[in-house]
Every structure is written in structure tokens, then in C-alpha cells.
């Protein structure tokens, strides 16, 4: 700890965040392990307004300190962000803590960024855990850079550290804490239910094309499945949007449905990274601006469906998407690293560029690959009489088939490559053996398999920077 730092005031800085609706989040905290004073809480964020239960500042502080218990033993590699998840029945809360190292007040410290929810929200929160963690992880990366920069700057200038620096870090962390509060609040009211009544979907139409053009429906579902079940549905009519959202969610698992959000009728939600399906309402001008960065940071490529003009666009496949995402992340972090002053902290939505990487903004492309799986399903399911459970049963059979095909594909590759020890060279055999000769079918099954085994696309399709077009050339010339 640098000399000259006055002891910190026991009062913990607190921000009240205005959130529309009932926020299930009780508080968020940023704590660190002071080498002299032990665990200290630096900042608390609490939602303003209605809450499910009340925690006093003392309790929040106690819990925040609690998250650092045992971290004196931490031996993680530099830069690692570890996640701890507590369910403390004694206190009736769950705490999600991200533990990382950062430079505060001139010293290396172990820090914890945490969010606290009531224990009763466990089932609600668990499906959203990965989304929250991934988003917080990234803001921590930015926070660490900023902490480092502040520390080195002040070291360079031989100035004593002040509380002002803390504020700076907090402002970076707030970039994600506040949206996560909003996300959880919106999911509380608008998440897609685990069980969807098929009557609320397009699949209940008497005949195909009644409420949705056949080709559009086919393309939407096919692309939705090819992009790992990740889609955004935009339009001007909330009912229409939500019908498509529910229809797409039929093809997701119950847990994935809990990570999907319906469209709000009066005013649109913001786009949220990580949700599987989300309905977004266009504004009065008939447009909806998607934040490039957030869309790119989605764990899977996304299908963009416009129900007003019946268009379906999709992002490149997983391996390309992941590659782009990582390049963008590196670019963003690098840009932050090179920022000279606090004022230069780039707003969250600005696209950062540097000399080495300029992202292709035209990330949504036409759906190139036709499939037979979804096409025949769409045709056949409408042959069954609506209003009964026939269509639901047939849908379950279809999903079972896809899941099994994905597992078979995974196992096939596992066998061929001895669990990844050898490169995979027999894509053509795979397609023949598993009856996946049609490119769209392969994409769908690969997307399912990717969700089971992350990184599969990159592994199978070789160098991840091949574009889809290049990949197709490679495959055809195989």
C-alpha cells in the first residue's frame, strides 16, 4: 500500500440505479482485499424502487466482504477471472462473485465484483447465470485495464492516490452493472415461459401460410436453428413479434426459453447480449438500431428476423463469429489500453478501431444454406390437425431427432479424432454416414452440437478465419 493514503472512511460509496419495474437484484458490490485492512467494500449499487427483499447497507457490506473469504489463498494466473456462487440460506440470498486481481491504490489486490439476489430467485437466476457472468467478465477485463492505467499514471506522476480513482473504476463497472439490473428486471416480466402453448405460435395455424408465409417461416426456423437458436425478431406489431418469438422458442430447450424475452408492447427493450430469442419493437420511424458491439458479443451468431418485411438474415457460422468476436474484443481492449485520459474512455456503443482490425459491419447476411430437415417438418406438421396435441408430439419428435443427430455427430467426430487429439479430416464421410449431405442440415446439426461442445465448429472447419464462402469452397473441393 502506498504511503500517504489516509484510512478509508467506513462509509461505503453507494449508487442507486433507477430501474423500471421490480428488480430481482438486491445489490451489486465491488470489494477488494486490502493488504492491511482485509476485505473492504468499495462500492455498492442498489436498484431504486420496489425490491423483493430489503438488505441494509451493513448486510450488503457483510455479504460483500464474505465473498472474499478464503481468497487470500488465491493462486490463479494473472488475469484470470474466477466465479464463485453462493447460496446462503442463513441470509436468504444468493451471491455471484467474480474474483480477479487488479491494481488498486498502487498494490495488487484481489477484487470481487458481486451481485446479490434473494434465494427465492434461484430458479429464475440460474438459466441467466452464464449471460450475467460473461458480460461481467468482459467489463472486468476493461476494469482491470483501467485500474492498471490509473495506477501507472499516478505512479508516474508520483501522486497520492485518492478516492477519485475509485470512482473511475466504478464508472467502468457501472457500464455493465446497470444493464444487468435492467436485463434481470425485464426478464422478470417478459421472459418466455418454460412451457409454451403451441396455440400461441404459428404452428397452430390451420394451414401453412395462414399467418406467416411458408417460405419465410421455413427460412426463419432454419436459420434460427443454424445459429444455435439465437435470434432477434424485430417488427412494428408486438403481437406479431411475440408470436414469432414463441414459435422460435418452441425449438429451444426449457432452460434456453428462460433466456429468451418477449417484446414489450409499449416501448422496446434494449438489445441484450446473450439472450437466445428476443423480440424488439421498432420505433416510430420504423427502425431499430442494433448495437454492433453487443450483437457481436453474443455467444452465438444471431439470426435477424424482420416480421414487417419478412426478411431473414443471419450472422456467419459459429467459428467465424467467435473469431470476429475475439478480434473485436481484443481491439476494444487494446483501444482502451491506449486511451490517454479518462475522458477518452469510449462510450459503450462506439465501435473501436485500430490499425489492425476493422470489423465488417455488414454482419447479417442472407441465409445461404437450404435444409431438408426443417422444410419437411414445416410441411408435415401442418398436415396434422391443429388444436390437439398432435403437433406438439410431432415437434417433440423433431427436436429429439435433432438432439440425437447432434450427439451422434459429436460422437462420430470424437471417435475419428480420438477426442480431438487428431485433426478431423473426414467431413465428407461424416456427411455420408450420418445422412447430412445437405448443407443446411449439416449446419443445423452442427449448431446443436456446438452448444454441447463449444469450439466444435472451429475444430471441424479448421482455420477459424475462413469465411463461410471460403469454407464452402474448401468443402466442395475436398
Amino acid at each position: 500500500m502506498s504511503s500517504g493514503c489516509p484510512p478509508q472512511s467506513p462509509a461505503v460509496a453507494k449508487s442507486e440505479v433507477s430501474v423500471e419495474g421490480e428488480c430481482p437484484l438486491l445489490a451489486a458490490t465491488f470489494a477488494y482485499w486490502d493488504n492491511i485492512l482485509g476485505p473492504r467494500v468499495r462500492h455498492i449499487w442498489v436498484p431504486k424502487g420496489d425490491q423483493l427483499m430489503f438488505l441494509s447497507d451493513g448486510e450488503v457490506t457483510f455479504l460483500a466482504n464474505h465473498t472474499l473469504n478464503g481468497e487470500i489463498l488465491r493462486s490463479a494466473e494473472c488475469g484470470a477471472v474466477d466465479v464463485k456462487f453462493f447460496v446462503l440460506a442463513e441470509k436468504g440470498v444468493i451471491i455471484v462473485s467474480l474474483i480477479f486481481d487488479g491494481e488498486l491504490k498502487g498494490d495488487k489486490n484481489t477484487c470481487a465484483l458481486s451481485i446479490i439476489l434473494p434465494q427465492t430467485e434461484l430458479a429464475f437466476y440460474l438459466p441467466l447465470h452464464t449471460i450475467c457472468v460473461e458480460r461481467l467478465k468482459h467489463v472486468i477485463r476493461k476494469g482491470r485495464i483501467w485500474m492498471q492505467k490509473v495506477a501507472s499514471t499516478y505512479r508516474h506522476l508520483a501522486l497520492a492516490c485518492t478516492e477519485e480513482q475509485g470512482y473511475n473504476i466504478i464508472s467502468v463497472l457501472s457500464l455493465e452493472i446497470v444493464p444487468i439490473m435492467e436485463l434481470l428486471t425485464s426478464m422478470k416480466t417478459h421472459s418466455v415461459p418454460e412451457d409454451i402453448d403451441i396455440k400461441d405460435t404459428v404452428l397452430n395455424d390451420d394451414d401453412i401460410g395462414d399467418s406467416c408465409h411458408e417460405d419465410f417461416l421455413h427460412k426463419a426456423i432454419s436459420s434460427h436453428l443454424q445459429t444455435c437458436g439465437c435470434s432477434i425478431v424485430v417488427g412494428s406489431n408486438p403481437e406479431k413479434i411475440n408470436k414469432i418469438v414463441r414459435t422460435l422458442c418452441l425449438f429451444l430447450t426449457p432452460a434456453e426459453r428462460k433466456c429468451s424475452r418477449l417484446c414489450r408492447a409499449d416501448d422496446s427493450f434494449k438489445y441484450d447480449t446473450g439472450l437466445f430469442v428476443q423480440g424488439l419493437l421498432k420505433d416510430s420511424t420504423g427502425s431499430f438500431v442494433l448495437p454492433f458491439r453487443q450483437v457481436l458479443y453474443s455467444p452465438y451468431p444471431t439470426t435477424h428476423i424482420d416480421v414487417d418485411i419478412n426478411t431473414v438474415k443471419q450472422m456467419p457460422p459459429c467459428h467465424e463469429h467467435t473469431y470476429n468476436q475475439r478480434r473485436y474484443m481484443r481491439s476494444e481492449l487494446s483501444a482502451l489500453w491506449k486511451t490517454d485520459s479518462e475522458d477518452d474512455i469510449p462510450p459503450d456503443t462506439v465501435i473501436h478501431t485500430d490499425e489492425t482490425f476493422t470489423p465488417d459491419l455488414n454482419i447479417f447476411q442472407d441465409v445461404m444454406h437450404k435444409d431438408t430437415l426443417v422444410k419437411s417438418f414445416i410441411i408435415e406438421v401442418f398436415m396434422l390437425k391443429p388444436g390437439l396435441s398432435l403437433r406438439s408430439t410431432y415437434l417433440a419428435q423433431f427436436l429429439l431427432l435433432l438432439h440425437r443427430k447432434a450427439l451422434t455427430l459429436l460422437k462420430y467426430i470424437e471417435d475419428e479424432t480420438q477426442k480431438g487429439k487428431k485433426p478431423f479430416r473426414s467431413l465428407r464421410n461424416l456427411k455420408t454416414d450420418l445422412d447430412l449431405m445437405v448443407e443446411g442440415d449439416l449446419n443445423i446439426v452442427m449448431a446443436f452440437a456446438e452448444k454441447l461442445r463449444a469450439g466444435l465448429h472451429s475444430f471441424v472447419f479448421g482455420k477459424p478465419f475462413y469465411t463461410s464462402m471460403q469454407e464452402r469452397d474448401v468443402l466442395t473441393s475436398f
Partner: protein, 937 residues
């Protein structure tokens, strides 16, 4: 949106791979890897963990030595490898999870027990590649600081995602184990308190006596220093008694406190029983814990180590007590003192409960073993299968509704009380004041046994440990030998004995085409030739009747089909109202299946069986021993129909007109197990069979059979023909001299038998006697022994005789005689050039394909307009052609492929109309006159 013109203007071609040197690069520790490990090897994420597979670790925070590992499950040092358990215990136990006061709070008279709720934590050590679900709990120990001993049970895995994705399941399992352990601990704690109270009372009585003696011995109103010391000691003992009484009261009130943990797993039975035990305990305690009275009475037993001051009520149990525990003279110390070694986990917990907990944890470890993607898919698989029960009977293993893998069906149960439902003996033992013989009284009477020790033996079964467990991975251990197969060397047409080449698609109307036995009163003759003749005539009648049936079959119909359907539906609704199994059935449109009348007839067919019993004259020949598999001894399905010559039931016209002898023999073998002998195994590999031998066929068995199936497909170029026979309902007979080989083949081919039944009732793995026509309806896959004896010749003769109904796979000569298959539907699962290497992979592929077939059959069955006349003038022919058109044009199926769907559709319809009590729908007996071809390798 992105992509709109205003944004596209910023876009430019990506310059992948072109980098320029960066003067101020971002250090890697602040960046993200461009090529993470998962990209180069998705399986490598967990490879840097120092342990080989997941395990459960129980650790404690010892007040003497700090955090320490106690045991691992499985208890195999190889599992943990070089992983530092001590360090990891330190890490997981260093969480201050209690956050509650324990011990002796200021202002209270006595020490308080702290009833702390369990905490659950997921944490990891990214450097070590170890992640853990940690379940913290507190046990009570009279000699521990604050009477508490902090423990934790951790599920340690290398995959963090696996833990978080299954958090709720893990939490539930460990909560069960924790509650079980804590319940046992409370019992042990209460026992210990009782013993301590007895010791204290005895000590009190001795001190009191000594103090009295000293007082009497000394001068009046003068107290010696020794007497004062005794008096103080006495006061300490009394204080200690009160403290222990209070502790006993506290531990007894455990169940009355409100639970703060909404995720705690409590068993109501357990609570009720504990409450009643507590009442009992408190009553006893009230009687024995009156120090003065005890002392007064104890004074009478001068010099006797055992206090004899119990009141009259106590004396009833006195004999037992006297023998069970001898109070000790102890130093009058406060209950807070601890000067002994700390108890082990086993000592802290009642034996029964401890063992139950360990078993529960073992079961937990087993059920979470394996790769996440397989566990996850399995769960999804089950959830989806539950939504399509109408077709799962075709190719899926039986879904166990009580399966605890599914979170939704997890039943909170107490490991010990759970067994009470099944075993009377397994009541949780009441708190026995007697200590364990080995612990306190070696002179204990040998006949006194702790009930806990008696019950512990059966706990495994209580906990359901005999249930099947998840496999760690469907992967095989070794690569299957890739056997190259030769192309078919030649095939030639044979068996021209059929009525002709008329390729009548009997299956479409098979049930209609079958006529009743024309000669119901004919005698049953033991002469096999005679029988054969009779059967032959039956066949002829069958053929001709089948043709006639189309014309006057309607006469046999008792009422309109719609009425039958409605009636059946109504009956079933009445019967099954509220039963979950019928939930799917109600909304499904029954009218879709109406045209397939045969099923309706079969629905009432069981009535025919008693009728046959009355009319059949069983001849000596009926005692003919049928050597068959045990599963054949299972009760026949209620929908199994045998010939009923003059039955008045509506099913008359559709019953199987098989020979009476055959029927009788079959029935005898099926209904009277004593007449059957088990197939003699001749050193063959019985385990090769996937069949349950009367037990349920499990997924594991089916996976194993996948290896055999792949080998079959690779080895036999005509495998596709055999598979088509099985899938289209044509009985396949595997003939061979070597039982092992035949069994293995049958085991492999059984995967392709639609609706094999829960126990594989439709498969006869090994038969060493001639089969009858009836058997052909019952068994769709038969392993038949080739023998050289006269019996063998008759068997071969029967094979030849029934060749129009069956296909014959000769395992010895590697030939197959069956009708040709020219479809494409099965090409993908019967390609002998497949690159699929492992049986488990092939099994997955097979599952997909069969699932696809089942879906198509479902579609065909329940597509409304296909099966109903559009107008009243529309005849059956039109409907028939519409169905055929659907199969061929809509689904793009060839003639042979259509037969598969038709057969599956029939089974679905039948299952739908008769869902209750039949695990395997009785297959319809159909045949066609397509000439069989002999295929050779």
C-alpha cells in the same frame, strides 16, 4: 439495424491475417486469447486437471488441525491422482459460511445450539482446473467448541459448466445426503447427551453421598476445606446437569424450528417420527434428570456403580438399561469443555444414517459421472420422450417415471425413511440409550443389538441403489475391428411354393384378411404330420379368407368403427381419468386410426382366450416341451390373440387362424411356466443378449448391442434386407448351431425389432424346438437351434413350411432368405461401408434413424384426412389409394419402405387404442406373397 445503408458505409473488407507491428501492445494478461484452447480441441478443456474423474470429497474444519479431507467417493486414490486434497480442503473450507453465532451467547444461562442452515457454494481453482459444488453443514458434538463441527461435502469436477448446469440437481442430492447425515448426528448427539446425563446423575449421587458423609463426620456448623470442595464440585455437577438438560431440550426442538432454507429437503415422515421420539425422550429425561431424587434413591444403592434410583416406571426398562449402560463417575466439568480426541465422522453419526448417507453420495457420484454433453442430452432426451409416449414404445427403452435424474421428478426423501415404505424392519431405530457394545460396554449381553446395525444391511435397497445408473460415456473402450465385408456373391430366387408372385400388400388389410379357423371342432392330433396338414389348411383358409374378407368383412364388424373407437375411448377415459399416462391420449384425434379396423378387433381379442380353453381338447402332444427363453414365460400381453374358432366376440373374423395344437402348445408354454424348460446354454455368451431375461431391457444393454449391430451391418452385405424384414414386421429366424453366435446375432438384431416390449417379449433369443404359427405372431425375432437329430429335421421342415411368413438368416452358412428390399429408407443404417467406428456411435445413429421412422409413422397414423373418406360415396379403395399416395409421393417412399411405415403405424394405432397393460403391442400377423430370395455373402 446493422446492415442498413448508413452503417454499411463504415464497412470494409476484412483484412484477416494482415497485422502491422503495434508499438504499445496490450499485454496478454489484459486481453482475451484469439485462439482459445477449445478451438483447437474442444475436448481439451478438462485435460489439465490432476484428477482423472469427478469425485466427492468430504472435509471438515477441525478445531485441532484445521481443514482436512476425510474421505473421497469413490474411495480410490487413483481417482484423485496427484490432486492436493489438503490444499483443496483448505480452499473450500475457508469460506465463512455460517455467519451465525454459535456457543454461549452473552446473557443466556446455558450454551445454545446453533441450528445453522446449510450453505451451498460453487467455487473453483482455475489454476488447478478443479471446480466444486460445496455443501456446508454443521454437525453437533458435545465435546467440540460451541458443540459444532463444520463439515462440507464437495462434488469436485474439472468442468465448471457441468456443475453450474446441474446446480439444482446437485443441490438436491447433497441436501438429501446432508439431511440424512444431520438426522443421524442428532440421534447420536441425543444419545451422547443421555449418556452424559446419566454419568452426571451418577456422579452427582456419589458426590452427594460423599458430601453428606463428610458433613456428618465433621463438627456441627463447621465445614472442612474438603467438604467445601465437594460442595463446589456438587454444584458444578448440578450446573452441568442443567446445561445438558437444556441441550437435550434444544436438540429435541430441532424439528420445531422454522426452516429458513427454501431448498432444504425435509422428509415429513422423518419429522413426525423425530417429533414423537423427542416427546418420548423428553419424558424420560424429565424422570431421570431430577438430581436430588436420583441422589436420594441412589444413596440406597451404596457402593453400587449403577444408580438404582429410577422410579417405578423406569424400572420396567430397568433391566435392559442396567445391562446396556453403566454410568461412569466423571469429573464435574462444564459441558463446554473438550479434552478428548475429536470424534470421527462415523462416531458423530448414527451408523444407519451414516451408511445411508455414504450410499446416497455414492449414488450421486455415479449418476453425475461422465461427460456433460451426454448427461445433458440424456435429460433432454427423456423430457422429449415423455411428450411422445404414443410412439416411444416402438424403439425406446422404458422410461422410468421415478427416475431421479430429472429434476422435475426428483422426490425429496429421507434416505432412511424412504425405505420404510418397503420394509417394516427399516423403521429408523428409536434412540437407544444403550451405547454400542464396542464403545462402552464390552460386557454387554450379546443378544442386545442396536437396531441400527440390523437395518443397515438393507439400506442399499432402500436407497434404490440397485437402479440403473448413468454411464460415464457411451464410448467403447476399444475400437471395433473393422471387418471388411464382401459384396454379395450371388443371389437367386427360391421358394416358389408361394401362391404366386402376386405382391399383395396384405399388411394394409392384413387384419381384415385373416379369417377364423374354418374347422374349430377338429381334433387335435399328436401326430406332427397331421398337425402340419392342419396348419397348412389353416394357411390356405387364411389366404382365401383374406380375399373374402374384403367383401364381407364388414359383416363381422359389430358396430360402426367410430362407435367402437368412441366406446374404447370413453372406457379408457373412465378408467384412466387423472392418470398421467393418458394425458397424451385425450387430445389426440382417434378418428385418424379408425380405418385400421384390425386393431379394434384385437382390442377385444383377449376374450377369445378363455373360449379357446373351453373348446380345446388338449392332447398329450401339448406337453411338448418348448425350450425357450424366460421372458417367454412372462404373461402374454392381453392383446395377444390366438385362434378362436367359433368365438362370438367381435374379433372373430380377425383372429389368427393358426393350428390349435400350436396355440395350445404356445399357450401352455406361456401360461404354465412349469411346463417349460429353460434353454440349455452350451457355454455360450449369454451376456451378449440385450434381452432382459425377464427383466427390463436397459439402455446400457441396448448400447452394448449396438456393437453387435454394427458388426452385423459390416459383415453381411445383405444386412439391409434383414433389417427391413424386422422393421416391416416379418419374423426373422436366426438359425445356427452355435448358441453363442445365434444369441449375439439376435441381441444385435433385437435393436431393430419395433415394439419389442419392456422385457423383450417379442424376441426369442434361443429356441431349440420347432415353432408354431402362433409363435410367429408373438415373436418377431427368433434364434433357432440347428440340430442334427430328428427333431432338427422337423424344425427345418417347419422353417420350410412357414417360409412365406418368415425370413431366415442362417448364421452358419451366412445366408439370408427373404423377400427383396429395394428401398432407400434403411440405406443409411445398413451401409456396410460405413465409417462409423464404434458400436456406441452406431447405436446413437441408429437411435436417430429409428426416431425419424417413428416420427414418420406417427405422422402417417395421425394425419387426419388420410384415413377418413372425404365423402360418404368414397369407398375404402379411394382412401387406400390416398394413403398409398401419401406414402409414395409425400414421403417419397418406395413400396418396401412403405411397408415399414405401415407396420409401425399399425403398432402405434394398436398401442394408442390399447395403451393399458401392454408394454409391447401385439404385432399384427401379416404376410405377403413376394418371392423370397436367398442372399449369400
Amino acid at each position: 439495424m446493422i446492415g442498413s445503408p448508413d452503417v454499411v458505409a463504415f464497412a470494409k473488407e476484412d483484412e484477416y491475417g494482415q497485422t502491422s507491428p503495434d508499438l504499445w501492445p496490450l499485454p496478454e494478461e489484459f486481453s482475451v486469447p484469439l485462439y482459445p484452447l477449445a478451438d483447437s480441441n474442444p475436448w481439451a478443456k478438462t485435460s489439465y486437471a490432476k484428477f482423472t474423474k469427478d469425485f466427492i470429497l468430504i472435509s471438515e474444519f477441525s478445531e485441532q488441525v484445521g481443514p482436512q479431507p476425510l474421505l473421497t467417493i469413490p474411495d480410490d486414490p487413483k481417482v484423485c491422482g496427484t490432486f492436493d486434497l489438503n490444499y483443496f480442503s483448505l480452499r473450500i473450507m475457508s469460506v465463512d459460511y455460517q455467519a451465525s453465532f454459535v456457543g454461549h451467547p452473552p446473557g443466556t444461562g446455558y450454551p445454545r445450539l446453533s441450528f445453522v442452515e446449510d450453505s451451498r457454494v460453487v467455487l473453483g481453482d482455475s489454476k488447478e482446473g478443479a471446480f466444486a459444488y460445496v455443501h456446508h453443514l454443521t454437525l453437533y458434538d458435545l465435546e467440540a467448541r460451541g458443540f459444532v463441527r463444520p463439515f462440507c461435502m464437495a462434488y469436485v469436477a474439472a468442468d465448471e459448466k457441468k456443475i453450474m448446469l446441474q446446480f439444482q440437481e446437485l443441490s438436491l442430492r447433497f441436501s438429501q445426503a446432508s439431511e440424512c447425515l444431520k438426522a443421524g448426528n442428532r440421534r447420536a448427539f441425543a444419545k451422547e447427551l443421555q449418556r452424559k446425563l446419566r454419568d452426571l446423575e451418577y456422579t452427582h449421587s456419589v458426590l452427594q453421598r460423599e458430601e453428606g458423609l463428610q458433613r456428618e463426620a465433621g463438627p456441627q456448623s463447621m465445614y472442612s476445606a474438603h467438604a467445601v470442595e465437594k460442595a463446589n464440585e456438587l454444584a458444578n455437577v448440578e450446573k452441568s446437569i442443567f446445561e445438558h438438560r437444556d441441550l437435550l431440550k434444544q436438540i429435541s426442538s430441532y424439528h420445531r424450528r422454522p426452516r429458513r432454507d427454501p431448498h432444504a429437503v425435509t422428509c415429513q415422515k422423518c419429522v413426525d417420527e423425530c417429533l414423537s421420539e423427542c416427546e418420548e425422550l423428553l419424558n424420560k429425561y424429565a424422570k431421570i434428570a431430577y438430581p436430588c431424587g436420583y441422589g436420594e434413591k441412589a444413596g440406597k444403592g451404596e457402593g453400587h456403580p449403577r444408580g438404582q434410583g429410577e422410579d417405578d416406571d423406569e424400572e420396567e426398562e430397568g433391566v435392559k438399561r442396567k445391562l446396556s449402560y453403566t454410568p461412569q463417575l466423571i469429573k464435574a466439568k462444564s459441558a463446554k469443555c473438550f479434552d478428548k480426541r475429536l470424534k470421527t465422522l462415523q462416531e458423530l453419526c448414527d451408523k444407519t444414517f451414516y451408511e445411508a448417507t455414504v450410499e446416497l453420495l455414492k449414488e450421486t457420484e455415479r449418476s453425475f459421472r461422465g461427460d456433460l454433453c451426454y448427461l445433458y442430452t440424456r435429460r433432454l432426451d427423456k423430457a422429449l420422450q415423455r411428450k411422445q409416449r404414443v410412439t416411444t414404445f416402438l424403439f425406446e427403452e422404458d422410461l422410468n417415471d421415478d427416475d431421479e435424474d430429472e429434476l422435475g421428478t426428483l422426490r425429496p426423501f429421507c434416505a432412511v425413511n424412504h425405505a420404510v415404505d418397503n420394509y417394516v424392519l427399516l423403521n429408523p431405530p428409536p434412540i437407544v440409550l444403550a451405547p454400542e457394545p464396542h464403545e462402552l460396554d464390552a460386557l454387554e449381553r450379546p443378544e442386545h443389538l442396536d437396531p441400527a446395525s440390523e437395518t443397515s444391511i438393507t439400506l442399499e435397497s432402500e436407497l434404490g441403489l440397485g437402479e440403473s445408473h448413468l454411464e460415464s460415456s457411451p464410448s467403447d473402450q476399444t475400437l471395433e475391428t473393422q471387418e471388411s465385408s464382401e459384396e454379395t456373391k450371388g443371389s437367386f430366387s427360391s421358394d416358389k411354393s408361394g401362391v404366386g408372385l402376386a405382391e399383395i400388400q396384405q399388411s394394409l388389410v392384413s387384419m381384415k384378411s385373416e379369417a377364423p379357423d374354418p374347422d374349430p371342432d377338429s381334433d387335435l392330433t399328436p401326430d406332427p404330420n397331421h398337425n402340419l396338414e392342419r396348419e397348412s389348411s389353416s394357411e390356405e383358409m387364411e389366404t382365401t379368407a383374406g380375399e373374402d374378407e374384403g367383401e364381407n368383412g364388414g359383416d363381422q364388424t359389430p358396430m360402426s368403427l367410430l362407435e367402437v373407437v368412441s366406446e374404447l375411448e370413453a372406457n379408457r377415459e373412465e378408467e384412466c381419468e387423472g392418470v398421467s399416462g393418458s394425458e397424451l391420449l385425450v387430445p389426440i384425434d382417434t378418428a385418424c386410426c379408425m380405418v385400421q379396423e384390425g386393431f379394434l378387433y384385437e382390442a377385444s381379442a383377449p376374450e377369445a382366450v378363455p373360449h379357446l380353453c373351453q373348446n380345446s381338447h388338449l392332447q398329450p402332444s401339448q406337453t411338448l416341451v418348448v425350450n425357450q427363453e424366460p421372458q417367454a414365460l412372462l404373461p402374454l400381453q392381453d392383446d395377444y390373440t390366438v385362434g378362436s374358432p367359433c368365438s362370438e366376440s367381435p374379433a372373430t373374423g380377425l383372429e389368427l387362424p393358426s393350428g390349435l395344437l400350436g396355440d395350445a402348445v404356445s399357450r401352455t408354454s406361456a401360461e404354465d411356466g412349469s411346463d417349460c424348460t429353460m434353454s440349455a446354454s452350451t457355454g455360450s455368451d449369454q451376456t451378449a443378449s440385450p434381452l432382459g431375461y425377464g427383466a427390463l431391457v436397459t439402455l446400457r444393454q441396448r448400447k452394448k448391442a449396438g456393437q453387435g449391430a454394427l458388426r452385423f451391418v459390416r459383415q453381411y452385405p445383405f444386412a439391409i434386407q434383414a433389417l427391413w424384414c424386422l422393421l416391416s414386421g416379418r419374423t426373422l429366424v436366426v438359425l445356427g448351431a452355435d448358441e453363442g453366435r445365434v444369441r449375439r446375432l439376435v441381441a444385435a438384431l433385437a435393436l431393430f425389432v419395433p415394439a419389442p416390449g419392456k422385457c423383450g417379449e417379442r424376441v426369442q433369443a434361443w429356441l431349440s424346438c420347432p415353432f408354431t404359427l402362433t409363435d410367429l405372431q408373438r415373436w418377431k425375432l427368433i434364434g433357432l437351434q440347428r440340430v442334427a437329430s430328428p427333431l432338427g429335421s422337423s424344425m427345418l421342415y417347419s422353417l420350410s413350411r412357414y417360409s412365406r411368413y418368415i425370413s431366415i438368416l442362417d448364421a452358419d452358412h451366412k445366408t439370408l432368405r427373404c423377400p427383396p428390399y429395394r428401398g432407400q429408407l434403411l440405406a443409411n443404417i445398413a451401409d456396410h461401408r460405413t465409417y462409423i467406428r464404434r458400436g456406441s456411435t452406431y447405436f446413437l445413429h441408429l437411435q436417430s434413424t429409428l426416431c425419424h421412422l417413428a416420427a414418420k409413422a406417427f405422422l402417417f397414423t395421425f394425419t387426419h384426412h388420410l384415413h377418413l373418406p372425404v365423402s360418404s360415396t368414397e369407398g375404402l379403395e379411394v382412401v387406400e389409394s390416398r394413403r398409398r399416395c401419401f406414402l409414395q409421393e409425400q414421403l417419397g417412399l418406395s413400396e418396401e419402405d412403405s411397408q415399414i411405415l405401415l407396420y409401425l403405424s399399425q403398432l402405434i394405432t394398436q398401442q394408442y387404442l390399447q395403451p393399458t397393460g401392454s408394454s409391447a403391442a401385439a404385432p399384427s400377423f401379416s404376410f405377403n406373397y413376394t418371392t423370397s430370395i436367398l442372399y449369400k455373402i
